[in-house]
């Protein structure tokens, strides 16, 4: 008799092999140049660009933590997420188009290339690379957390969180190291389709298993905890989260380089519009699953789910992020569970691959190539591959510490990345007066990034900041951005204008 965990684990491993084969196949047409390794030779068409952007944006954050937040904070997450996901599409066009035009005409490969060139500052290049490297590690870590949860639950606890996370993280690192971001673009297409179908299928199966219709779900939620049907974030946190996830995530390196990769502006504009639709509609089934989880958490399901199972999962995994994976595993047929958990793994891996690929590019281009300007293209590709494996392992090492809720960690990472915005806006939108020069851009970025790092609830204790001064990452990132803008403009006005 084949047990459920064997079916689910087999499907998960078949999925992994499928992704590695796609990654390997993409190397067959890989040219040994950085432009091809990272930017698909700037020829990404609509389907590839749209699905790569959408699946890269949606990570373990979307598939795992969104359900956890829906289950504990209710519709609050939808009220915020519809706004930040549609805003992400708009930002993808309004900023992405300008990044694309500059990237194509000036031959930029790394995001720092644009800032360093427009501000004529190699120091700005290095500082942005360092800021990104610091914050992106958080993003890599959350994907490793998600993958550990998925395989641990999918195997019925027979493969530990630590080993499971290591296996999946190394699989992603392997296909990116072999095929570069070209492999990631290809796998992202498959993963983007898989995760979208997966979340809708999971939503419909789980909701209709317990409720005759959507109205009954809302009636049950109202009985259990009516607060789940209201907005529970204060307005500063709501606005902060919308800016952080709508703008901050889109200008992180893993999505920034997607703008460079576009074939033309037509591709970019429709990719942006479709991305907004994809990202926002993804959260509708996630909300249904999350609210169902809240009801089942209160009432339990005899013989399947104990009342208070969310607290038990939080105790076991250090956060409520395992709710979605656990519900899929316990409430659906093993074959369906395997396919849906593979969809969840797709969400995490499609972001992980882009992050380790883009951060390796930034450090190769913006640090190693500056130290060794005569390095050949093949040696740069080799260094990139080593960095890909290294960053994957760093992310895994942090994930095994179980640092907390994915939502909070992503908010810190995106909030840090958001601090590049003032410098980026001045670089891509010509103004009659130059409001920000290289000195202002550097000062604003450093101040903004330090505020996010030091005054966020989860990190303040490491810097001796009193807890009364600390704020959630979404809120503090908004304040940091405002201070960043002010510092950037003031410093620019009292220093020489950069050329």
């Amino acid at each position: 008799m084949v047990e459920a965990w064997q079916v689910v684990t087999t499907i998960l491993f078949l999925y992994l092999i499928f992704m590695i084969i796609i990654g390997y196949y993409s190397t067959k047409i890989l040219r040994k140049s950085l432009e091809d390794f990272y930017l698909l030779s700037r020829r990404a068409g609509l389907l590839v660009l749209f699905l790569a952007t959408a699946s890269t944006y949606h990570s373990a954050f979307a598939f795992l933590t969104s359900v956890a937040v829906f289950a504990t904070a209710g519709v609050t997450f939808w009220i915020g997420s519809f706004a930040w996901t549609t805003l992400a599409g708009i930002v993808g066009y309004l900023i992405g188009k300008r990044v694309y035009i500059l990237g194509k005409s000036r031959g930029y490969i790394s995001p720092s290339d644009l800032l360093a060139d427009r501000y004529n500052s190699e120091l700005l290049r290095v500082i942005t690379a360092i800021v990104w490297a610091i914050f992106v590690i958080g993003y890599i870590t959350v994907q490793a957390i998600g993958l550990g949860i998925i395989i641990s639950i999918g195997s019925g606890g027979r493969i530990s969180y630590e080993i499971g996370s290591l296996i999946l993280v190394l699989a992603a690192a392997l296909y990116v190291a072999i095929g570069g971001l070209r492999a990631a673009y290809w796998t992202d297409v498959a993963q983007g389709i898989w995760m979208y179908l997966g979340v809708w299928l999971a939503g419909l199966i789980i909701v209709y298993k317990f409720f005759p219709g959507i109205t009954d779900l809302f009636v049950a939620v109202r009985e259990v905890n009516p607060k789940l049907l209201t907005l529970n974030w204060h307005w500063q946190l709501l606005v902060g989260n919308i800016i952080v996830f709508g703008v901050g995530v889109m200008i992180l390196p893993h999505l920034w380089i997607k703008f460079y990769a576009a074939r033309d502006t037509y591709t970019l504009k429709w990719s942006s519009a479709l991305t907004a639709l994809y990202l926002s509609s993804f959260y509708i089934p996630a909300m249904l699953i999350g609210l169902t989880a809240a009801v089942l958490n209160a009432k339990g399901v005899p013989g399947i789910l104990e009342p208070g199972f969310i607290s038990a999962l939080t105790k076991a995994y250090g956060s409520a992020d395992a709710v979605m994976a656990y519900m899929i595993y316990t409430l659906t047929h093993p074959v369906i569970a395997g396919l849906l958990l593979a969809g969840a793994a797709a969400a995490a891996m499609s972001t992980l691959d882009s992050f380790i690929g883009s951060i390796s590019m930034i450090l190769t281009r913006d640090v190693y190539q500056k130290i060794n300007p005569k390095a050949s293209e093949s040696s740069l590709v080799l260094i990139s591959r080593i960095l890909i494996i290294l960053f994957a392992l760093i992310g895994w090492a942090l994930a095994v510490q179980r640092p907390g809720l994915i939502f909070d960690i992503v908010a810190i990472a995106a909030g840090g990345g958001l601090q590049v915005l003032p410098a980026l806006l001045q670089a891509v939108i010509p103004t009659k007066r130059q409001w920000i020069n290289k000195y202002g851009a550097i000062a604003g970025l450093v101040v903004g990034a330090l505020i996010v790092l030091m005054f966020t609830v989860q990190t303040a204790k490491y810097f001796g900041i009193p807890s009364a001064w600390a704020r959630p990452a979404g809120e503090i990132s908004l304040y940091a951005l405002i201070i960043n803008f002010i510092v950037a403009v003031i410093v620019s006005q009292i220093t020489k204008r950069s050329s």
């Binding site: 549609t86 035009i101 500059l102 959507i214 049907l229 907005l231 504009k269 639709l277």
Partner: protein, 80 residues
């Protein structure tokens, strides 16, 4: 000379333009829709409305539909 001409041409492409009246209308609708989100605190109650959903949720769905329509129209008619 050629480099300077190319540079000017790029700067022209980077400028924010509202030459198309539709772009002004769509921008205004989008900005107002996002700002109106903050009005949700005025009726932030769990009482049932359409399909048993609460008023904040129905309101958020309405704003979502408006913004999605704006994005699609912008992509089709305004964005270059």
């Amino acid at each position: 000379m050629l480099e300077r001409w190319c540079a000017l041409s790029i700067e022209e492409e980077l400028k924010v333009s509202f030459k198309n009246p539709l772009s002004i209308v769509l921008t205004l609708i989008a900005v107002v829709a996002y700002l109106l989100l903050l009005a949700v605190y005025q009726f932030n109650r769990p009482d049932p409305t359409i399909l048993g959903m609460s008023a904040p949720l129905v309101y958020a769905f309405t704003l979502w539909i408006i913004i999605v329509i704006v994005i699609i129209v912008a992509a089709a008619r305004v964005w270059g």
